[in-house]
Symmetry: C2
Subunit: 218 residues, 2 copies
């Protein structure tokens, strides 16, 4: 396995090509840090973009939903799979420049193009569902009741292989016009990060069960 994804026509952006990267490890880290992706597909000739949970196993992404949900049902109806675009984005900072025009954000994003297929193999389904839970809270799937057969049957899963994929990012300082440098406006970056508040136990939780380390260590 190589360390980079192969640039394809549609993953080479028309703008800011220098911001596009295909490094496998970087792509995985951007995906793994995201709680939700935005899944795009076509319905009745129009684009639809829905937020959804996802998981990753090596070079495969999984999204799941009820067997009644729209994209899942559509992929199941079509033998050839469902054309999708799956995108995740992190906003890392707000970039303020002296000119309104050059304002920007520091960000990391990954865009995956491909065809999603329904997963029917029970073993792949089980490991994909573990991956979905562990994607949000690493280690959690081993610390909860596994899905039973009824739950497995009620869950539809789509697989999307990471092939036509690229990351794009902006980091660092503002970029401005030389003639703006002496204007009397503040210029710089406001860094953002995800914060966590104290875990809130469910009503009636047995008081002898402490919050697990994978929550309190954040």
């Amino acid at each position: 396995m190589t360390d980079t994804y192969k640039p394809a026509d549609r993953t080479v952006p028309t703008r800011y090509r220098e911001r596009a990267v295909y490094d496998r490890e970087l792509v995985h880290s951007i995906l793994d840090e995201a709680y939700v992706c935005h899944l795009g597909f076509i319905r009745d000739g129009a684009p639809v973009v829905l937020p959804t949970l996802f998981g990753r196993v090596d070079d495969r992404l999984y999204v799941h939903g009820s067997t009644g949900s729209r994209p899942l049902r559509m992929a199941g109806e079509v033998d050839t799979g469902l054309l999708v675009c799956l995108t995740v984005t992190h906003v890392d900072g707000l970039v303020l420049t002296r000119s309104a025009f050059h304002h920007s954000i520091n960000y990391r994003s990954v865009v995956v193009h491909g065809t999603a297929h329904q997963v029917t193999d029970p073993e792949e389904k089980r490991s994909a569902l573990d991956a979905l839970v562990d994607h949000v809270i690493p280690g959690r799937s081993r610390d909860s009741r596994p899905p039973n057969n009824k739950e497995l049957a009620a869950t539809a899963l789509l697989r999307l292989d990471l092939m036509d994929v690229s990351a794009k990012l902006r980091t660092g300082d503002p970029i401005e016009e030389p003639e703006d440098m002496t204007l009397p406006y503040w210029s710089g970056v406001l860094p953002l990060r995800t914060g966590y508040d104290t875990p809130i136990p469910a009503p009636g939780l047995d008081a002898s069960i402490p919050p697990p380390e994978y929550l309190t260590a954040r």
Copy 2:
């Protein structure tokens, strides 16, 4: 103007209908809190989802980009506009349940369907660009150099009217099977929020210019 958007066929979700809301004020607040949206459109018969900055003026959304960027160029080429789906999502908390199956997230999302049109009127363009800057940092457009004619000409703008729009949210405690309530696993919610680090001044910024209040008050 009414207080709610009108439910349409495609904004009534197939799943969790009780989570869908059409309240105008709530829709606006979810949109305004987001730094980026995910814009979906169709290119060469396939869906594309790209993260992008946006702004709102009343019931109109604006996305912008270079005149060379793909969706902007596509909308300009087509007299009838570009079919899009614009989605924003906030992840407010991780919902841990005793069963792997019922894990969820608390979230707020807005999905807008419609046709985006190029903005050519210079006045609308100026006010939309102000809105884009103020969307990320309220008050900032008045505290920076306005765009000049060359910058205006280099910027393409798309307008998307808020008509076919809905919000969806999940809040509150875990929901579990009665028979799982005595399992020895922690159950509850881990609340998330966006944190801000200390603003980083640009290299060479005049030391007499303090970070503006709209940054430090966060």
